[in-house]
Point group: C2
Chain length 294, copies 2
């Protein structure tokens, strides 16, 4: 039985290693990028290439999208000459970008009308997870399509979960991002209190790791903060974008989420002061600046 | 070699099982309580009793205090006829209550002038931890006194750490409490977003537990929130008191900690609406009320 053929759009820091993993697992992959030079290492690894998006979806069973933001996703899938234009009935589009849940449902409905299936499948775990194939993948869309695509997800991720209908994967990712950001801000406040009190942040962290205050954020990002080590990791400008999605969804749902708004504001200041390329744990810098402001 | 004799003040929900553990470990314990009936089960278990605080400190090597709040601690130790009055030079007072770090340093200095040693040693882990002797104990004060008292801490706790000089244990506890409260509020916001989006909170929680959003709070209190199960656990009114300590210390240090202020405000509303006896994870109720307020 020949393997599902895959079309791939989005060969950035995340997409590239994911394509390598699919090729290694024996999937035929056809990749597309606006800038041809991005494809060179993938061609060497055995990927085919296409010169247009519609060619990608016309010539493969499944198109996978891994782009930066909602407008990119919309353009890649729904613009003239996009994936939707080329895709035959029965094709599946998997969007692994982190984008708006509401827009995801909207695109999914358009595709459904043309008998094209769509899954939203945003990931967490960063570049390391992409390289090692250990991403956490949160999937929304029809369960039977999820089951069909499961072998592909298992190549790319360590923990793969079907969350619910279309958009549910994006909602889970939004929840993840608001929780991570708020926990980072709280860790930053704890460190400030310790430091101002003349108490070792390291020892406080160690003590707290052993109790109910334990979080992966305190463990991993809490250590980055101790060392002012903000090499990304996950860039602040992307986390900022994700917190915008949270704020937008909350507004659509008529929800006030003040904690999420507060960390959006912190991340915005971080990006505005030119630190968008740092790891998003650098929001500790803003928490510190504001804590000591007169 | 005979064991260190221990005086104990504070036989509430935490103190009582802690005394039982010390008795079981073979320590002679003399307990004091204003209400005599609180002592009955301890007498049955082998405790001696005293009729005044100064008698406690006069007749034992180490006095341990486990009371509810800063004013109680101050009264027990420094008021006329309190522990300080009875304690001979060379006595040690261990305060395991959760109280103000600044007040702790103040009391410690008074005691030091009389050659009475003091450790602050607040705990986390709740009633279950007290019963099972698995509390996390965060200790401030002179390291040599900490080492001397270590065998006692090891009976009461599972993880025992010396954080720093006098007050450092209380600072660590304050950091713990602000971090726990903010994480609970963030989990509540994530759940609200999921629910309003028609997505299963259970599945979002499961997915998030596998990634960077993992926290003990998401695991333990996140489950309470799903089930609206707010049996304490750790009472909201006590967490409210602890967040007050955080706010007070921040003010003393000239720090603005808006995340901590926000959860103090949530916890205050929870207590004011008559829910102070619930587990503090019930602040999710307030997050929900405010999220949906017109």
């Amino acid at each position: 039985m020949s393997k599902t053929s895959i079309g791939w759009v989005g060969t950035g820091i995340m997409g590239r290693p994911m394509v390598h993993n699919l090729l290694r697992a024996g999937y035929p992959v056809t990749a597309y990028a606006r800038r041809r030079e991005q494809l060179e290492p993938l061609i060497e690894a055995g990927a085919q290439t296409a010169t247009s998006l519609s060619e990608i979806s016309a010539g493969t069973d499944v198109s996978i999208v891994m782009v930066a933001d909602t407008p990119d996703m919309l353009e890649v899938i729904t613009a003239d000459g996009g994936l939707m234009d080329g895709a035959p009935s029965g094709h599946t589009i998997i969007d692994m970008s982190t984008v708006s849940p509401t827009r995801t449902r909207y695109v999914s409905e358009q595709l459904q009308a043309r008998r094209i299936a769509m899954l939203d499948a945003p990931v967490s775990g960063g570049e390391v997870g992409a390289i090692e194939g250990t991403l956490s993948i949160m999937v929304g869309g029809p369960e039977e399509v999820f089951r069909e695509m499961r072998p592909i997800f298992d190549v790319l991720g360590g923990q793969v979960r079907h969350i619910g209908e279309s958009g549910a994967g994006q909602v889970a990712k939004a929840c993840n991002q608001l929780l991570v950001a708020q926990t980072m801000a709280a860790v930053a406040e704890a460190y400030l209190l310790a430091q101002a009190s003349g108490v070792s942040r390291e020892r406080v962290r160690e003590a707290l790791l052993g109790g109910f205050a334990y979080s992966r954020i305190l463990e991993v990002h809490g250590e980055r903060m101790l060392n002012d080590d903000y090499q990304p990791g996950f860039k602040a400008e992307l986390h900022y974008k994700d917190l915008h999605i949270v704020a937008q969804e909350a507004r659509i749902m008529g929800l006030k989420l003040p904690g999420s708004e507060a960390v959006l504001d912190l991340m915005e200041e971080l990006v505005n002061q030119g630190d968008g390329e740092l790891d998003s744990a650098a929001l500790a810098k803003i928490v510190g600046q504001r804590a000591k402001a007169p």
